[in-house]
C-alpha cells in the first residue's frame, strides 16, 4: 500500500502529467471565476481530450485538477460580490459577503481558501485511509438512514433562524413546500407545475439561490451608492488574518470537512446539502450564534471546508463501486472508460497506484489554487472598493449569465428575478433566508427516501438500530439548541437588568 502511495505521487509529478495538471488548473481557474460556464459543462467539454491523452494519470491530472479548482474559485465570487459561482457554493455568501461589506474581503478570502485547502487535504487523507473500508461504509447507509440524515439536516433550521424562531420555521416550511414542485417520482403526478414544462424537474437550486442572495445585495448596493466595501482596512494583513482564523478554529474546519466528506461519500444526498449542513453546524456550535449573517468568519470557514472536502468523499463510491457520488463524478466515470480503466474493485487492487494518484492530484491542485489565489488576492479585493454604480452592470451580467447556465432556458432568468424579489422582501421584513434554502434542498430528499423506506421495509425501518441512534442525535440537537436559545434570552434579560 505504501508502495502504491509513493508510486502514485511520483506518477503525478512526472512529466507530462504534471504539465497537464497545471494546464487543467489554469482552465479550471478561468472557468471558476467567469460566469455562464459551470464546472460541469466544462468537464463535459474537456472529456474528449482524454481520447488524445490516453495515459490515465495524465488524463486525470487534467480533468480532476480542473474540477477540484472550480469548486474553490466559486467561493471567490460569493465572497466578493455576493454572487454564488455555482448553486451548491452559496452558503459562503451568508457571512462572506457581509465581511466584504465591512471591508474584510481579504480576511474572508483568506479564510475560505485556507479552510478549502485544509479540508481538501483532510478529504484526500480520509479517502486514502478509507480505502479498505469503503464498501461496507457506503452500504451501511440505506434509504431509512438517508431519510433520517435529511431530517437531522432539517432540524438545523432552528439554529439558522436567527432572532425569530417562528419566522425561521415558517421560512423552512415554505422551502420544504417549494421542494414538492415537479413530477412526483412515485406516481408521475405533476405537482404545482402550473402548465409549464420548466417546473417538471422542480425548482433548480442555482437560479433560486442566485436570485435570493445576489439580487437584494445588488439593489442594496445601488441604493447605498457607495462601493461594496463600506470601510477600508489594510488588505494584506487581512488575508493573513483569514489564514490564521482557519487555525484559530481548526477543529471547526476539520469537523465541517468531515461533514463534506461524509455527505459526499453517500450517493443520493447531492452537492447542495453538505455546505448548508456545515454552515448550520458552524452556527450551532458557536458560542454566540447572533453574530452569524453579519460577517462571522466561522460562517465562511464551515462551508468553505465542506465544499472542497466533499470531492474526496465523492471519489469514495466512484472508486469502490463504479457508482458516481455526484454529476461531476459521473462525467469522470466516462473518462475512466476512455483511458481503459474500469472504476470499481479493480481500483483498490490492480490500479491502487492510480487511486492514490487521484488523491495526490486533489492535494496538489488544492495547493496550487491556494497559491495562485493568494498571489492575485490583493488585486481582486481592490474591486470591492470600486464605486457601486460602475460595478452593477457587470454584476447583473454575472447574475443572469450564471443562472441561465443552469438549463439554457429563459425561465431560469424569470426564477432568478422572482426569488430576487422574495429575497428583497425577506431582508426587509427580517425573515431568515438560510432555513428557506435548507428546506428547499432537503425537502425532495426527505420525501423520496421516506417513500422508499416505507415501500421497501414497511414500518420495520423505524426500529433499525442506526435509525434510533440518528433519531437521538436529532433530538439532542434540537434540545441543545433550544437550551442555548433560552439561556441566551435569559442572559440578555439579566444583562438589561444589570
Amino acid at each position: 500500500m505504501i508502495e502504491a502511495l509513493i508510486s502514485g505521487l511520483l506518477q503525478v509529478l512526472a512529466w507530462p502529467a504534471f504539465g497537464f495538471l497545471l494546464f487543467g488548473a489554469a482552465v479550471g481557474f478561468m472557468v471558476g471565476i467567469l460566469p455562464g460556464l459551470g464546472g460541469l459543462a466544462t468537464l463535459a467539454l474537456m472529456l474528449p481530450f482524454a481520447y488524445k491523452i490516453q495515459e490515465p494519470i495524465s488524463a486525470f491530472c487534467f480533468l480532476l485538477g480542473m474540477h477540484a479548482i472550480t469548486g474553490t474559485t466559486g467561493d471567490i465570487t460569493s465572497i466578493l460580490f455576493g454572487i454564488p459561482g455555482e448553486g451548491t457554493a452559496a452558503a459562503t455568501i451568508m457571512d462572506g459577503y457581509p465581511m466584504t461589506k465591512k471591508g474584510e474581503a481579504g480576511r474572508a478570502m483568506g479564510a475560505a481558501l485556507m479552510s478549502s485547502l485544509v479540508a481538501g487535504l483532510e478529504g484526500a487523507l480520509i479517502l486514502a485511509l478509507s480505502i479498505p473500508i469503503m464498501r461496507p461504509l457506503v452500504l451501511f447507509f440505506g434509504s431509512p438512514e438517508l431519510f433520517m440524515l435529511a431530517i437531522l439536516g432539517i432540524t438545523f433550521i432552528a439554529s439558522l433562524s436567527g432572532s425569530s424562531l417562528a419566522k425561521g420555521l415558517l421560512a423552512g416550511g415554505i422551502g420544504l413546500m417549494l421542494a414538492a414542485i415537479g413530477v412526483d417520482p412515485q406516481t408521475g403526478t405533476l405537482r404545482y407545475t402550473m402548465g409549464t414544462l420548466y417546473l417538471w424537474d422542480g425548482l433548480s437550486l442555482g437560479p433560486v439561490v442566485v436570485g435570493l442572495f445576489a439580487i437584494p445585495e445588488i439593489v442594496d448596493l445601488a441604493v447605498r451608492g457607495t462601493s461594496i466595501a463600506e470601510a477600508k482596512i489594510d488588505k494584506i494583513q487581512g488575508v493573513m488574518e483569514g489564514v490564521k482564523d482557519t487555525f484559530r478554529h481548526f477543529w471547526l474546519t476539520m469537523r465541517c470537512g468531515m461533514i463534506g466528506i461524509f455527505v459526499g461519500a453517500l450517493p443520493g444526498l447531492g452537492g447542495g446539502v453538505s455546505q448548508w449542513m456545515a454552515y448550520g453546524h458552524a452556527v450551532q456550535s458557536s458560542k454566540d450564534p447572533t453574530r452569524f449573517g453579519k460577517g462571522a468568519v466561522e460562517g465562511v470557514l464551515g462551508p468553505g471546508a465542506a465544499n472542497n472536502a466533499k470531492e474526496g468523499g465523492n471519489l469514495i463510491p466512484t472508486v469502490a463501486f463504479g457508482i458516481p457520488g455526484s454529476s461531476a463524478m459521473a462525467i469522470l466515470l466516462g473518462a475512466f472508460l476512455i483511458v481503459g480503466l474500469n472504476p470499481g474493485p479493480e481500483m483498490l487492487t490492480k490500479h491502487l497506484d492510480i487511486t492514490f494518484a487521484m488523491v495526490w492530484i486533489l492535494v496538489i491542485a488544492n495547493v496550487i489554487t491556494a497559491g495562485v489565489c493568494f498571489l492575485f488576492l490583493n488585486q481582486l479585493v481592490k474591486i470591492t472598493f470600486v464605486r457601486g454604480s460602475l460595478l452593477i452592470p457587470f454584476l447583473l451580467m454575472f447574475v443572469f449569465l450564471g443562472s441561465f447556465a443552469a438549463h439554457n432556458n429563459f425561465s431560469d432568468i424569470v426564477v432568478t428575478l422572482l426569488f430576487g424579489l422574495l429575497g428583497y422582501f425577506m431582508i426587509l421584513f427580517e425573515w431568515p433566508r438560510p432555513p428557506f434554502v435548507l428546506g428547499l434542498v432537503l425537502g425532495r430528499i426527505a420525501e423520496n427516501y421516506l417513500w422508499i423506506s416505507t415501500d421497501a421495509y414497511g414500518a420495520s425501518w423505524l426500529i433499525h438500530p442506526t435509525i434510533i441512534v440518528i433519531f437521538f442525535i436529532t433530538v439532542a440537537t434540537i434540545g441543545y439548541s433550544a437550551l442555548k436559545r433560552s439561556r441566551r434570552e435569559e442572559g440578555a434579560v439579566s444583562y438589561k437588568e444589570g
Binding site: 459543462a41 467539454l45 414544462l197 443520493g268 463510491p317 457508482i323 466516462g334 474493485p345 438549463h407 422508499i452
Partner: protein
C-alpha cells in the same frame, strides 16, 4: 473630431461592400455554393452534459461536418428538462426549420405524445428522422440469491419481488410493467431513487432486489462487471425482439409472450412500452426542413457511422454501435404510434396519467 471623420470615411466603403455582398450572394452564387458552406449546425441535446446522449452528440459533432458538402461547423447545446420535452418542443416549434438545428430527444419521447401529455407541441411522426446509432433494449436483473430464478417463479410467488425505480418514465418502472402487462407477473416497484446508480447500491445492500435497465451499460461497466464475475445477479428477461449477444441465455419478452399466449392487446401494450429500445438515442430535424437537406444529413450520418476513427472512439467510450437508418426509424415511430384507444388508455394508466 477629425479622427471620427476618418473613421466614418474608412468604414463607409466597407459597409457598402458588406451590404452588396449579402444582397448578391443568394442570387448569384446560390447555385455553385453548397448550402452548408460557412454555416454552423446546432445539435440540441435532451440531457445534461456528460451522459451518453451528450457524449454521442459531441462525438458526432466532431465527425458529421466532414461528410457534409461545404463542411459546416457543429456545436452541441444542452437543453435538459421535462424528459426532453423542452428540447423537442423547441426544435419542432421555435427553431427555424432550415436544417441547421438537429434534435436528439430521449428514446422514449414518443410516449409523452402517446399518452396525450398536454405540453407536447409536436407530432413525433412528422419529424424527419436522421437515424439512430444504437439500440437500447432493456433487461431485468435480479439478485441471484433471491428466490426468483425465472419468470415462472415470479408468476407463482406469493410475495412480489421489490424492484427499484427512479420515476414512471424510467426503465426501472417500465421493465417490471412490461412483465405485468405481457405475462401477468406482479412486482412491487419501489420508486423515488435519484438515479440508477443509487438503485444499484440499494440492490447490493438488499433494500430492493431487482432493477430494469438498458443493456449496454449493464454489460459495459461497474458494478456489473464484478457482479457477473461473482455471479451476483441473474437476468430474467430482455425486451428486444432478438436475444442480445451478451445475454444469450436470457429469454426475450416476445418469446415468453408466445409461450404464454399473450392476447393481442397486451402484446401491443408491450410493443409500445419497449419501442424506445429500437429507437435508441435518435437524431431528427423539424418537419419544415427541405428534403434535399434531410438527404444530405442522412447520408452524412450514415457515412460518419462508418468512419473508423469515430468507431474507435465509440468503442473506447463503451458506446455501442448498432445503427438504424432514418427511414426505418420513421417507419418504426409510425408503427408504435398507431394503436387502438384501449392500448392508449392502458399505457396512460401505467405511466401514471
Amino acid at each position: 473630431m477629425k479622427r471620427k471623420l476618418v473613421c466614418i470615411v474608412l468604414s463607409l466603403p466597407l459597409l457598402l461592400f458588406l451590404v452588396w455582398g449579402t444582397w448578391t450572394t443568394p442570387k448569384v452564387w446560390a447555385q455553385e455554393k453548397p448550402f452548408y458552406k460557412g454555416k454552423t449546425v446546432r445539435i440540441i441535446v435532451c440531457c445534461t452534459p456528460g451522459g451518453f446522449y451528450d457524449r454521442w452528440a459531441r462525438l458526432f459533432a466532431r465527425y458529421l461536418g466532414r461528410y457534409i458538402p461545404g463542411n459546416p461547423d457543429f456545436i452541441v447545446q444542452n437543453m435538459p428538462g421535462a424528459g426532453s420535452l423542452i428540447a423537442t418542443n423547441y426544435v419542432y416549434k421555435v427553431a427555424k426549420p432550415d436544417g441547421l438545428t438537429i434534435v436528439m430527444p430521449l428514446g422514449q419521447i414518443y410516449l409523452d405524445q402517446f399518452i396525450g401529455t398536454k405540453q407536447v407541441r409536436f407530432d413525433i411522426r412528422k419529424f424527419h428522422w436522421i437515424g439512430t446509432q444504437e439500440k437500447s433494449h432493456m433487461v431485468l436483473y435480479m439478485r441471484a440469491d433471491a428466490p426468483y430464478k425465472t419468470v415462472e417463479d415470479i408468476l407463482k410467488a406469493k410475495e412480489r419481488p421489490k424492484c427499484g425505480s427512479s420515476g414512471t418514465a424510467s426503465a426501472g418502472h417500465i421493465v417490471p410493467k412490461v412483465l405485468e402487462e405481457g405475462l401477468g407477473a406482479k412486482f412491487k416497484i419501489v420508486s423515488g431513487y435519484p438515479g440508477g446508480s443509487e438503485i444499484d447500491v440499494a440492490v447490493e445492500r438488499g433494500e430492493v432486489i431487482c432493477r430494469g435497465m438498458t443493456i449496454p451499460p449493464h454489460f459495459g461497466r461497474e458494478p456489473f462487471i464484478t457482479w457477473h464475475k461473482r455471479g451476483f445477479d441473474r437476468h430474467i428477461i430482455q425486451t428486444g425482439r432478438k436475444r442480445d449477444s451478451r445475454a444469450p441465455d436470457t429469454p426475450t419478452i416476445y418469446e415468453l409472450m408466445d409461450q404464454y399466449k399473450t392476447p393481442e392487446v397486451n402484446r401491443r401494450i408491450v410493443s409500445v412500452l419497449t419501442g424506445s429500445g429500437e429507437l435508441g438515442r435518435p437524431f431528427a430535424v423539424a418537419p419544415g426542413v427541405p428534403p434535399d437537406r434531410v438527404r444530405i444529413l442522412r447520408a452524412a450520418y450514415a457515412k460518419a457511422l462508418k468512419d473508423p476513427q469515430l468507431l474507435a472512439e465509440a468503442k473506447k467510450g463503451k458506446m455501442d454501435v448498432d445503427p438504424t437508418p432514418g427511414k426505418e426509424v420513421q417507419a418504426l415511430v409510425n408503427r408504435v404510434m398507431n394503436q387502438p384507444p384501449e392500448v392508449v388508455e392502458r399505457v396512460k394508466k401505467i405511466m401514471g396519467r
